[in-house]
Symmetry: C2
Subunit: 294 residues, 2 copies
């Protein structure tokens, strides 16, 4: 099944496009789960991360369509961190959650082939539904990923316009025609069209478009009408719900066209009890996004 | 000690800038080391990779200054692959080899912090001397890495002009002034200057500049006079020794200013016996590069 069809059908049935980011910031892991020093070198730390995120994932079943683990924060724990990620992915899949691995990988073709094998094949060592990809090396380096979209129903989200302060350093550079991020979007257009799902008309080749600046979202939507947007930074990074869905367009049950990620604001609430804070923040994010798309 | 000083002093004493890429392409692992099906999912595969690359590393001691494992090809084996990489890095360090991890990481600041902790701190889970970094997200995302260059004597090599066919898709785009790769080089200039080592005048902030097109190498050298070049693709990807060192400049014992990586041509020789082929190709690469710099 096409990844976009799969994702969009789940979003339609849940009524909101919230994606929860699984980002184990060690210094923020809530008190009930902390073990040992919580430093990367302490062998107790991976266990604490596993217990914490396992609890989060249990609470997400049937409430969100998709989660996004940030692999950097698992890698900081070395191979033991990837072992935790492996178990966590199994746990997500068992609970019916789609998994987008936020890996931002990109390399020459033979190495990109290694990443595609690592994440996007049936029986892969860390098998997920989709990953995020960095386009700086150019079109040929995306081929191993788009091949798996076609052959194995996987998805990719290519970085186009990110939400960090330095995004303007390169992505907003003016080319002889347009900006760099527009050139990246242009480079993706053919593949994006080719990977459209038959059921929903959305493509398994999506893009990362930050929520801080809504104008680029509208421009990318013009260039890539079928691309799903992965919008980071809802909540903690300050974007409102309407701003976050700016690049969406009307669908059968309100507007659609991507997912909106929130991580810190949900995982690490300021509250007396972690459970209460988590539930409140999760419900709040779901409500706000559900309302915005309706 | 500044990373560039450390690297350049070793290169001067050995008389050549060869870096050997440790790239476990599963289908090419030589016959004497193969175990089981050599597929990513087979638990025998990591053992075969470990045996093979362990043998390679043993043979590199005191002959090359630096090695470059390609993490994608370890990641395809999941956490067991990182476990092998971990052991391999220990083995390299025990043999006095510097290790540049070819990870091409790049992410928003809080995630980049995770990668910096994973690879560039004392006692890190996978502690190496330097890593390769992707600049697409912009200057703020490089800070966690340059901080470790300053505080812990580490190095980074930022992708500027890569050697793959699609490199031209974005990197050669004309901006209103110059090209994108020149803009990337320009963005790095201040940090590059700040990270110069007191002994050799070379910087711990280096750049990846492919060997296929020598003109960009000369242009990047103008923009970043102190940056060490990591030049991939010597041998297999067809660049000659003179072409590979085009961006170098004259030093006390011939020209210097970077390292030239060869992987497939050395690790996977066409020869009756792997040992004979490996030794021959290694000697050949060392000789050709040594001659070129003199």
């Amino acid at each position: 099944m096409n990844f976009a069809d799969n994702l969009i059908e789940r979003i339609r049935s849940l009524g909101h496009p919230l994606c929860v980011g699984l980002d184990p910031h060690l210094e923020r892991v809530p008190a009930p789960f902390r073990q040992g020093s919580m430093s990367p070198a302490d062998p107790e730390t991976p266990k604490a991360v596993q217990a914490f995120l396992g609890e989060v994932v249990d609470r997400l079943e049937k409430r969100v369509a998709v989660v996004k683990p940030q692999i950097a924060l698992f890698e900081q724990l070395g191979w033991r961190g990837l072992e935790v990620l492996d178990a966590l992915i199994d746990c997500c899949r068992a609970r019916g959650l789609l998994v987008i691995l936020d890996a931002k990988r990109g390399d020459i073709r033979s190495s990109a082939e290694g990443y595609a094998r690592a994440y996007l094949e049936p029986g892969a060592a860390l098998e997920v539904d989709a990953i995020t990809v960095n386009p700086y090396l150019g079109g040929d380096t995306l081929v191993p990923f788009t091949e798996r979209c076609r052959s194995h129903g996987r998805g990719i989200f290519v970085l186009v316009k990110t939400s960090n302060p330095g995004a303007e350093d390169l992505q907003d550079r003016s080319l002889e025609a347009g900006t760099l991020y527009e050139a990246v979007a242009g480079m993706l257009a053919d593949d994006c069209r080719r990977l459209v799902g038959p059921k929903t008309g959305w493509s398994a080749l999506g893009v990362v478009v930050g929520a801080r600046h809504p104008e680029p979202a509208e421009r990318v939507r013009e260039l890539l009408p079928e691309a799903l947007f992965l919008v980071p930074g809802f909540g903690a990074q300050g974007a409102g719900a309407e701003q976050a869905i700016r690049g969406f367009r009307s669908g059968p049950n309100g507007c659609e066209g991507g997912i909106v990620n929130s991580s810190r604001a949900i995982l690490y609430p300021d509250a007396e009890s972690w459970e209460t804070g988590f539930e409140m923040r999760l419900d709040e994010a779901i409500d706000r996004l559900g309302e915005a798309i309706r």
